[in-house]
């Protein structure tokens, strides 16, 4: 038996240097890899912080106070534009009605004016006939020459005034026709287009409003994700320290095994008892160090896995932030070319263009209506003249009748002429009344027009359109600035998140340090396990081991090492003081159970 014990001791002592070499290489070889990983973590953390800041900026840009004020102003402008268009449209309809009424009245003037032209011809004929009859009577008809000249002058006056009215009527009629076409055209196209675009703007305003709400929600989401990222970085920082912790644990295993290796039995001391005792001690130490090594390797693997998972989580969470903002701001199109703000900017520009055209049409109409009233006032002057012509004809007829009566029977023919002039004067009164009545009707219509806003408010409306244009331009500029910043930041966000995610994946896929540690640890554990299994088969664990465990308890500086030690002790039926102390201690500092402030 002694030979067997001693032979095994010799064999194990020959194996121990190999195990120690592996452990020493494990304890010091991985620092550079962890330092490099630490540098990457700092880089990832800075980039991640930048991405989170960009995401917050984006949310602020779309759902912040500046955007809310802009949305409110846009809503007000939208209301103003709608009201303006309704007002202009109503004025257009009223103007059309007025112009159509004037057109009807202008048509009514034609017939009496044609009567005036017939009267002109009759007066000229009467003038000639009076001259002939006056010549025939010689001395007796001398007074009729003056009468003939008066009648001729009257015919010229009638011709002049009626032609003037006809000409004014014609130009008025043309002006009204043109404006009616213009108003109808504006009504048919501009108002309809403007109404359609304003409806779209209204719809987009609601979308903008819901976008702001969803963006605020996304902002909260971004905040939560950012907190999770901070937690991930915290996990990496904590896990990175396990490199140092594991190194110290391995160093403690090395110390224990070095002690075993240095425990040599001289040839003289190789007694049965000594060798048996040494086998037991070897079993004790190797069993304990196997457990410590296993735990250290597991702890290191867990920490490295936590580092990998947390880093990957940071990458995927930043990609998630980018995706969610992209979805919230750009919808499902995924396009960074167009956005709602972009669409609204274009729509507002179109509405402004239409309102400008409507404003011009409105001004044109107001100016035309002013021309109509001006022309009507001129025509009014002609009517007075024609009424004066009627009175003059009447006087001339009376004068002719008196002269014809003075002339006696020889002036009978002149009496007939005087009768004819008298009839013409009656006709003139009738025609004048007809023209006058019609023109008065038109005057009444135009007088009504002057009461309406469009003749007097043309300038005011022009200012209103200018104000709306300026406000639209201001809002478009603000929208454009927001939109441009939005697209730029979204693009930066997407690129940064993608690049961070790619770099994290590249780095994490290249981390194999834990696999190397695990591989070397397994080799060590296999060696130690083999030794302690053989040792235990030769000499089972004894009371002495339990005593050793009790003594060794104080050698361990780390809580985790002591826990392993305790577990081993418990496996051998021994309850150590640490367990008792843990059961008794329940106080945890406000900073955590690993922090004490004195």
């Amino acid at each position: 038996m002694t030979t067997k014990f001693c032979a095994n001791i010799q064999k194990w002592q020959a194996q121990l240097p190999t195990v120690l070499d592996i452990l020493r290489s494990l304890a010091g070889s991985t620092e550079d890899q962890f330092l490099e990983l630490g540098e990457k973590l700092q880089d990832f953390s800075i980039r991640s912080t930048d991405i989170s800041a960009t995401a917050r900026n984006l949310v602020e840009l779309v759902a912040g106070p500046e955007s809310s004020v802009l949305e409110e102003q846009l809503r007000q402008l939208f209301t103003d534009m709608n009201e303006y268009l309704v007002q202009v449209k109503n004025q257009g309809v009223e103007s059309c009605l007025t112009l159509e009424q004037i057109m009807v009245q202008l048509d009514n003037v034609v017939r009496p004016l044609e009567g005036f032209q017939k009267m002109d011809k009759a007066l000229r004929m009467l003038s000639i006939s009076t001259k002939i009859e006056s010549a025939r009577l010689g001395e007796l008809g001398a007074g009729f020459t003056t009468l003939a000249m008066d009648v001729e002058k009257l015919s010229q006056a009638v011709n002049e005034k009626s032609s003037g009215i006809m000409s004014q009527r014609l130009s008025l009629s043309q002006l009204i026709s043109q404006n009616l076409d213009m108003v109808r055209n504006t009504e048919a196209h501009q108002y309809t287009d403007a109404a359609n675009i304003l409806t779209a703007v209204g719809g987009n305003l609601e979308t903008l409003s819901s976008l702001n709400s969803s963006c605020s929600e996304t902002g909260n989401q971004v905040g939560l994700i950012s907190e999770q990222i901070v937690a991930d970085i915290g996990t990496v920082v904590s896990s990175m320290q396990f490199h140092d912790i594991t190194r110290q644990q391995i160093e403690h295993v090395i110390e224990a095994l070095e002690k075993l290796q240095n425990h040599r039995i001289s040839t003289e001391q190789k007694t049965d008892d000594n060798c048996q005792s040494f086998v037991a001690e070897t079993g004790d130490i190797c069993e304990l160090q196997t457990a410590q090594m296993r735990h250290a390797a597991d702890q290191m693997t867990k920490a490295t896995n936590a580092i990998l998972e947390s880093l990957q989580d940071i990458g995927s969470k930043q990609a998630q932030i980018s995706f969610e903002l992209q979805q919230a701001l750009m919808g499902n199109s995924g396009s960074t070319e167009t956005s709602l703000l972009d669409t609204m900017e274009k729509e507002m520009y179109q509405v402004t263009q239409i309102i400008q055209r409507c404003g011009k049409a409105d001004q044109q109409l107001a100016s035309a209506m002013q021309k109509v009233t001006g022309t009507m006032s001129e025509i009014g002057g002609f009517v007075s003249d024609i009424e004066a012509v009627g009175s003059e004809i009447d006087l001339i007829a009376l004068n002719a009748q008196i002269k014809a009566a003075h002339t006696g029977t020889q002036g009978a023919a002149l009496g007939v002429l005087a009768e004819a002039i008298k009839r013409l004067s009656l006709d003139a009164v009738t025609q004048t009344e007809a023209v006058s009545t019609t023109l008065k009707s038109i005057n009444a219509i135009t007088a009504n027009m002057t009461d309406q806003q469009f003749l007097t408010s043309g300038e005011g409306e022009h200012n209103q359109v200018e104000e709306m244009e300026e406000e639209t331009q201001r809002i478009i500029n603000a929208l454009s600035a927001i939109n441009s910043s939005l697209l730029q930041q979204l693009s930066t966000l997407a690129n940064s998140a993608e690049s961070l995610s790619d770099d994290i994946n590249k780095i994490t896929s290249g981390i194999h340090v834990h696999e190397e540690i695990q591989k070397l640890t397994s080799k060590t554990v296999d060696f130690l396990e083999e030794i302690y299994t053989e040792a235990r088969s030769l000499v089972p664990a004894s009371n002495e081991f339990r005593n050793n465990l009790k003594d060794m308890e104080h050698r361990y500086t780390m809580e985790s090492e002591r826990i392993i030690h305790e577990m081993m002790a418990a496996r051998h039926g021994l309850k150590l003081s640490l367990q008792k102390r843990q059961e008794n201690s329940g106080t945890v500092s406000e900073f955590g159970d690993n922090v004490d402030l004195f």
Binding site: F242, N594, F598
Partner: protein, 121 residues
């Protein structure tokens, strides 16, 4: 001006994580590779706080604390031990040497920052 904190640890990766955590939170950091290095630097540089490991070559954490408390320019700064050791006896030893607090590794960044804020006032 940002507060200056020294981290003394023979593990470069631990110094790296302490520095990273502190810098992220707006502190300036000066590093020392062991107790002796720390004491030399602290002889000529005023810092606002010291965070030190316990087991270091050349001069350990307890020796460093005693040295700092015996010095002039950093005599009264808060000193927090950051170590894997958690025995009460060691904590008592640190406290008696003049440590302000004791953090057992691994620390969480928010824990370290909370402690720093607390001891810096």
């Amino acid at each position: 001006m940002a507060k200056l904190i020294m981290t003394a640890d023979d593990s470069a990766s631990v110094r790296q994580m302490v520095s990273f955590t502190l810098k992220q939170n707006g502190y300036d950091v000066v590093e020392a590779v062991d107790g002796k290095d720390a004491l030399t630097k602290l002889g000529s540089q005023k810092v606002d706080m010291l965070i030190t490991d316990l087991n270091m070559p050349n001069l350990d954490g307890i020796g460093l604390i005693k040295g700092v408390r015996a010095s002039t320019i950093n005599k009264f700064i808060p000193i927090v031990m950051l170590t894997t050791e958690s025995q009460d006896s060691r904590k008592a030893e640190g406290k008696s040497a003049g440590a302000t607090g004791w953090i057992v590794k691994p620390f969480k960044p928010e824990q370290l920052i909370a402690v720093v804020k607390k001891v810096l006032g």
